[in-house]
Symmetry: C2
Subunit: 671 residues, 2 copies
Amino acid sequence: MSKQSRLLEEERRKVNFSVEELTNIYDGGVEQTEMKRKVEAAIHNDPECRCKDVGMMTREERFNDGMRRTIHLNKVVFPREGWNAFSKELDYVLRNIGKEFCLGIHTGVFLPCILSFGSDEQIAKWLPLGAQLQIIGTYAQTELGHGTFLRGLQTVATYDKASQEFVINCPEISAMKWWPGDMGKSANHALVMAQVVIDGKKYGMHPFIVQIRDLTTHMPLPGITVGDIGNKVGFETTDNGFLHFNKVRIPRENLLCKNSEVKPDGTYVAKTKDKMVYGSMVRLRAIFLEGEVVSALGKACTIAVRYSLVRQQGELEPGKPEVAVMEYMTQQKKLLPYVAMTYATHFACLKLKKMYNIFEQKVKEGDLSGLPELHALSAGMKASVAEQCTDGIEILRKSCGGHGYSNASGIPIIWARAVAGCTYEGENTVMYLQCARYLVKCYNQVQTNRLHGTVAYLNNMNQSTCRVNKANDFQQPAVLVACFQYRAREVIKSVAMKINHLTKNGYPNHEAWNKCSVELVNVVKAHITQYIVATFASVIDELSCSPPVKTVLLQMCALYALENITLYSGDFLKVGYLSPKQCDLALEAELDLLSCLRPNAVGLVDAFDYSDDLLQSCIGAYDGNVYERLFEWAKKSPLNKTEVHEETYKYLKPYLHAGRDILEGKTKSKL
Amino acid sequence: MSKQSRLLEEERRKVNFSVEELTNIYDGGVEQTEMKRKVEAAIHNDPECRCKDVGMMTREERFNDGMRRTIHLNKVVFPREGWNAFSKELDYVLRNIGKEFCLGIHTGVFLPCILSFGSDEQIAKWLPLGAQLQIIGTYAQTELGHGTFLRGLQTVATYDKASQEFVINCPEISAMKWWPGDMGKSANHALVMAQVVIDGKKYGMHPFIVQIRDLTTHMPLPGITVGDIGNKVGFETTDNGFLHFNKVRIPRENLLCKNSEVKPDGTYVAKTKDKMVYGSMVRLRAIFLEGEVVSALGKACTIAVRYSLVRQQGELEPGKPEVAVMEYMTQQKKLLPYVAMTYATHFACLKLKKMYNIFEQKVKEGDLSGLPELHALSAGMKASVAEQCTDGIEILRKSCGGHGYSNASGIPIIWARAVAGCTYEGENTVMYLQCARYLVKCYNQVQTNRLHGTVAYLNNMNQSTCRVNKANDFQQPAVLVACFQYRAREVIKSVAMKINHLTKNGYPNHEAWNKCSVELVNVVKAHITQYIVATFASVIDELSCSPPVKTVLLQMCALYALENITLYSGDFLKVGYLSPKQCDLALEAELDLLSCLRPNAVGLVDAFDYSDDLLQSCIGAYDGNVYERLFEWAKKSPLNKTEVHEETYKYLKPYLHAGRDILEGKTKSKL
């Protein structure tokens, strides 16, 4: 056993709580952990399906292997294990197959969209084909020239009464569909969002099913130009594509017509708008945040914490043996707040999912009133959690020093995918401002109406100050929640007043809004951090568990909160809730917590329960055997395929031979 | 001409200062700009040497192409243009060949180290060989288990009196050399740092020349295990390597003996320590910061600003045409402060180089007293500038939305290389703490001695407050410099007092230091920001230039400062220099500046003068023709080599054919 492995074993003996108990709580119950492990074993034990290291692979190798694995999963594993797209195991299947798979948009977006937009007849036609991969679809909305601003999309579907067809066309190059996943090389159908035009009149964006490739040869159909958009930061296994339509004709029936229909004579019939489309976005966001962002942070924490416990570097006390880098306060400050963030944002995502489930129940009873709140919360969470967590992953990567920069650490690959979450599914700044609009509206209502739910804390607009006078007081959840509620309230109030002031002084609404937008983004960060701290505190409060686990979770909650107080001390001071002295106490409390949590560090990340298969990290594996793993990994470098790298030798040979002759005294050096 | 190109042309007409004049100032004079452009043309006009797009290439393709280009440069371009490693043109050669080249460590570190560590005889033997690539060397210091902590390095050089040889050996796997550039597949010699042992006694780390590969076959020599360490975030053209010694014997003469010697009988002779080794690190840091970090930020700014001026998205005013994303305040706040940061840190790097040159002069007169200050400043600059700038590049990347995530934007590739600067050449946190040690020492002296140079501002420890009472006051450089000096002084004072308090209360020095290290990092950030603002202000003050250029540079200085006030408002409030009201005024001043600078945005980045060759960006090229470039680029995706991607088709075919048969009514769907 290597020295490093021994060190990690010793660390595990220091942990003073039950890691398994904490895992069960994290998973949402013992049964969940059991189901997760069963799925994990099934995938781990299938060599065709097991995660493999991709750190040395090219983009095309990763794409090819992702396709192989996806088909194996559908063809062999699902039938063998009795799983399908609606199984309760599905979340765990997604977790345990890791990120190297294809056709994610087909399954995750194309099929659900048919259900959302199609009539019963259309669903009956397309859904079974899609569910069995007999057609493969993409969701083609984003264009080269337009992303988040949907009304700007340029692809047109002109109705031709004579033939009862729609003519799909891209009037200019920027109208080409761009980015849709699975579209580049895989999809043979696309759910295309296009502007409906009938008799020269525009009717807005509508969803169409368009076949784009031949089902025999897989060649693009006439009028279609389609391909992969090239290499990106991450998502190597996704063939994000471009798609250009040159007057492509499709039958009238291919307009998905749950919400609106075009009759054969060109009459446009609008049906009731289905608001649940927005509702399901909420659910998707909660799932995406947890599965793509929070879990990525959890993996990066696991790697960085384990590595920091076995990496010894430098003397803390002069003349004494070297210590693990975790002994340095600066290292603890880099790592442990992100472990806390993983817990805090994880429970906030679980809560968001629960809120959605309650909302869905109410919708069935005809009550849609919860939608604006839920929509705003999920937009704010999406932006704020994606930003915080992906910034954190990069800090964790750097905390691993040089090895963090190598793909061997696994963190570069984790980050490269997760960070896309700041951009897709609604660009972060747009999301911040959507949430801000709701908050400002709430603030303007609070004078006349009581607010409920996640904005109820805005009801109390009394001035007050924090009464903490020693560092330890900052460990109490109630004290921390009060800090964040006060700050959020005050920053919302301040910007709302500024907007009102501007509009009173003659600025049009949109200009006042733009002038305040920098502060509005900050408002949402304040609101969401408040939401996360309050949610985490209430989750812990309701938990029945052993005292050591409760203690460590309370410490996580406090650490997340205190890190945010230190980071945004300017806000807390400006609104007058904390004094400079109290800010110092908050930092003191945070540093105390770090020392306190340090012996439990490995237990806190072990509890996330990421297997070595999922981490794919030489420096973060469970056994701590860092250096031997790095050496074995390095040998697989593409440049090491042969002992002498032929291309290098080709260029260097004449120089080397000249050097040899000089060193052997056969010729003389000339300079 | 595309609509986007027209938009950028219109933007250029709005610029109210001479871009060429600003370029000349940025470059350090008209002659410098001319030399730069001459070198640029020579490289641009040579198709073998010209930068090419690497966004779709694999790591091995990039390495091979880098090697080809490097050899062409040495063999053909240098002789043709009359350049060599000592030409005044060299900085511009490095600038204009871009980042895709090999043998950078050989030229940039191995050769200078021979000069620093070798005796005259050794220099005469090795330098000419190296200068002509007849030997290729690496600098082998970092090991698998040890980086920044040099005393922990484990490779041993045991002197064998009988044969008058050193035996180089790695006692365990973590002792293996790891990371040295050019080592994996290129180098045939290594400058190896190893622990000298004579008769069982250790003498510390010493530099040896060790041949590692055969000069005829390029095969590793007996006892040597060497190879590439595999794929990383960036630096694809560098074969960072591993190197294991199994009792490799080298002649006694291969100990580079300028500083210490081992006599044939094993007598160890220490000569005077050459402090200039530390001095030259200062110079290297200034060059590296400018060439690898600040320039990377400048390129990212150029790309993001141009793109934001032609990318139209959404309506600012409802019902009006779409506007460029630059019209949104949130976008201006993402971009323009980093344009300002590029200018601010660029001039600070120039100043650091000048300080080094003055120091070098003084050393010749026997005066080494400036070393501690210079060393501390360069360590603090290295950490602080690398962190600020690389964080900025990532923010700029995200500001480009989806296209920023594609390699087509060029920013992912720029970032991937620049961000390594936070880790190599001294890990950032270690650098911060080195600078902090100097600052705390200065603070402790200030009670008894007057301080000079970059820490002179610590002499004034009087309490005061800022007297600003309207936003516009914050445009004055003197006001801003005073803010940053006050803040830096107070945070240094506060942490120095805390350390003193702890040691008085019985904590050993090292423990008190560790307990305060989180605050010490902040102290250095405060000191360096102060230094950058003050330097920028004094550079502008001394400049003779046209009023419009002076105005825009003053605005850049103010914007850099105000961004840092907003970011660290907590510090300014806590030390009591700014009131909450003044913090609001600072933000107001910053937002006013953004609007004011907006029409000049394209001019400010054009002035950096990065050619399209160097940017390699579809969205940031000079002509603004974003969309057509993206489409042309995408076609080159590795997945687009054939219309039908064979591997995909192979896996999907059976499903497609089943789908076809169902859709054609030949079979029925089964679900």
